[in-house]
Subunit: 468 residues, 2 copies
């Protein structure tokens, strides 16, 4: 993309949309993935309307210029990092909540609305938007849709995709498509809504999202349990769920993680433990019974202590501690590779045992926290990035964790997405027929491969960019 | 497809798979759609394994022979009717429940498993498979997946697709693809699972389904309310949901429907009403409060009587009465065109008012029952099929109902599918970009258009069949 190209694009769009100042571009080069390369973008388009997006894509399609859609750039897989010569297409200024319909229990929003802002706004109407990724205070609904983001709610309520009812999507060639519908049900034609959810900006650019809401849940009751081994904690998760319970939160932290969190917020937890579980029930009058059943399973699995929070404020404090895990790991002052495997819940014991073996084999520390109730764990490989040999071992450990996840019948990514970080691994998870069906769909919808090229799929030729 | 072709296919498959006896073929020509043409099939394949399906499709792909997948043939849109010269590919003999995993709260089943059989089996494990189409005692999970079937559960629990976690799908060329995953979460690659759900046999043939289950719900509490006008009933639905309630059932019947049902099962309902609502809450201790709130909204909207069932048996009796609606309409001894529009719930009043106008305009009776809590109504046009003029007016009324549904921001089909019956209407609902994206995906996955050709999409050339 040449300077003349930037000028041509600027002329097609209203004022204040196209930027190519070096420092602006630099500020938008990266999402939050560690160790993913970011290219040098040619321009940033700050879209303020569907028409802006459509004009930009139509131009890029004609001129074979790669486009990288961006929300808050809080992703963890490098899917929003710049590509050389690309247009960064930012949706952050399209941040309006367009409608909240209480009788239909839906909201219609632009992609740049921050998750936490939407959740707070619908709560004013007595409604509840469950998806709560760790990034919810900064990440946008558009980004959540692009990665099918999860969070702590998922064990009971599901992921972002479970709450997406309709989309407005700009296709690669600039045409605007509506998918899904406002209504609770509908089976007219293929479900393109969920094809676009989780497609990481490779099939189209989402410019409007209709999300389903739920009635507000009851104030949750919270408990924590402490275990002498991580295996005891994992057994408790499997055992509790097998009894037919579905808690609204069921989170795991190993002890190094608890200790890192306690550096940020002293929780007064006991000494000498190996793992803890944090559980909530939001079933109102049924919640005390849910937690009593949890306590029984935990004690049967050698929990040394189980504490039910006396009041909601104490419960919220424990949840905040859980939300500090990311910061706590970053605060360790070393490099961290965060994994995101999700395994069948009956394989959780095998997973945590395997992490111990991997840590030993590659001589790197592997911390672990995660959404245990889903089997979605975030093992974090901690290493000294200035030590080349240790860095190499860390990468091997990171890969070994994904391999273990697949061996256990799981997935390489539960909620962070493939992006750049794991694209080499996609072919390990999908069979040949599925991978080729996915490529065929990508080619059908984006024939010039301008939308986030090279992301998600294992390498196989790039786009022909005029300027690259 | 010639006799030699049938012989060739028979040689590729194990014994007892391929049938071409005229009476067998005749018995498999139709699903339950009224007024949809059925062609003359060339052969029936009764698959007993994924390999049988793969062999059949690979052969059909090579030889350009259309294939119509069939489950229990209980569909209402003609998507399983025979096409001339086609292979009918029946999945009904693949009817095994392969796994029930209590800790993961999933089941893995073959497509021919009957919905009600699965629901009963998982209930033995304290688990709950919510999707409950009216056909649940006969329809199969494979058919439910193909149409993304709904039912009475949807207002609280969602549709079939909300419970499908993974699929094994045989692609048009015979290759076997696995989509999704066993785990609760996963974002590795595009969501092909939900692309196939609801695709009515046009993108692949489903040979295994992994469904998510829920913990068993509490025994529901049931209430009925009777209204002097259908508009009062519709206002009650909208008002109750707008207060943030989410009942587990919220059904509507107009009075002609109630009277038709009472011919089959005397329910002792009051005289001279115009509409009734049937509501359930399965929230245990919270259920009486849910129904009290419902009663308050109903009385504020002029309900003349609201009755809360004294015991679960009485509630179940009321539910059975609701399930008789289909039979009751058929028992009217006249022809019936069953519509399936779904509108935003705040438009329910406009819908029921519009049905009155349509009935008057076209001088045909329009009965109405449906899943009011979803806005998914089944207006039924009743007419004398031997009267040509009346039949034509009935067809016009049927179309006018869909047009009204679209005008109100709804869909032409909430749960029955497009099939043959409504394919002309798909282009009215979808915009040009969405329709062309859907055609592009169909062409990418089924390049010779052998899978249920001519279904779902508006007419646009057929396949080139060697024998057609």
């Amino acid at each position: 993309m040449t300077t003349a190209d930037v000028r041509a694009l600027r002329e097609l769009l209203p004022d204040g949309r196209v930027f190519d100042d070096v420092d602006v571009l630099e500020a938008y080069r990266n999402d939050r993935a560690s160790f993913c390369p970011a290219g040098v973008p040619a321009a940033l388009v700050r879209a303020r309307s569907t028409e802006d997006v459509s004009t930009t894509l139509a131009w890029a399609h004609r001129n074979r210029v790669p486009v990288v859609p961006q929300g808050a750039r809080s992703g963890l897989s490098g899917a929003a990092n710049a590509l050389d010569g690309c247009i960064l297409l930012s949706l952050e200024k399209m941040d309006q909540i367009l409608d909240i319909d209480a009788s239909e229990q839906i909201a219609v929003v632009q992609p740049g609305v921050v998750n936490g802002v939407l959740a707070a706004k619908v709560a004013e109407h007595g409604l509840f938007y469950p998806p709560d990724p760790g990034s919810r205070s900064i990440s946008t609904i558009g980004g959540n849709v692009a990665t099918n983001a999860g969070g702590m709610c998922c064990v009971k309520y599901g992921v972002t995709g479970d709450f997406v009812r309709a989309l407005e999507v700009v296709l690669a060639d600039g045409r605007v498509m509506r998918t899904g519908r406002r209504t609770a049900k509908g089976v007219a034609g293929y479900d393109l809504t969920h094809l676009v959810v989780g497609s990481e900006g490779t099939l189209g650019v989402v410019t409007e999202v209709t999300v389903a809401l739920r009635p507000a849940a009851a104030q949750p009751l919270t408990a924590v349990a402490f275990f002498p081994t991580v295996v005891d904690a994992a057994r408790t998760v499997t055992g509790y769920l097998a009894e037919g319970y579905r808690p609204s939160v069921l989170e795991f932290m190993d002890w190094p993680t608890v200790q890192a969190v306690q550096k940020l917020a002293d929780l007064g937890f006991p000494e000498g433990m190996a793992g803890m579980l944090l559980v909530q029930s939001d079933r109102g009058d049924a919640a005390p019974g849910d937690l009593a059943a949890f306590e029984a399973v935990a004690r049967a699995n050698d929990a040394s202590e189980v504490v039910v929070a006396d009041d909601p404020a104490e419960g919220e404090l424990l949840m905040q501690a859980r939300r500090l895990v990311g910061d706590a790991h970053e605060n360790l002052g070393v490099a961290v590779l965060v994994d995101d495997v999700c395994v069948p819940r009956r394989s959780l014991v095998d997973l945590v045992e395997g992490l111990g073996r991997i840590s030993e084999q590659y001589q790197v520390e592997v911390l672990c926290a995660g959404h245990a109730g889903d089997g979605n764990m975030h093992p974090s490989v901690v290493f000294d990035a200035s030590d080349e040999a240790e860095s190499a071992r860390a990468q091997q450990a990171f890969d070994a964790i994904m391999e273990l996840g697949l061996e256990l019948g799981g997935t390489i990514t539960g909620e962070h997405g493939v992006g750049h970080l794991k694209r080499r691994w996609l072919g390990e998870e999908l069979d040949e027929a599925a991978l080729s069906a996915q490529r065929a769909i990508k080619a059908a919808l984006d024939p010039h491969n301008i939308l986030n090229p090279g992301r998600v799929f294992p390498e196989q030729g790039g786009i022909t960019s005029r300027s690259a």
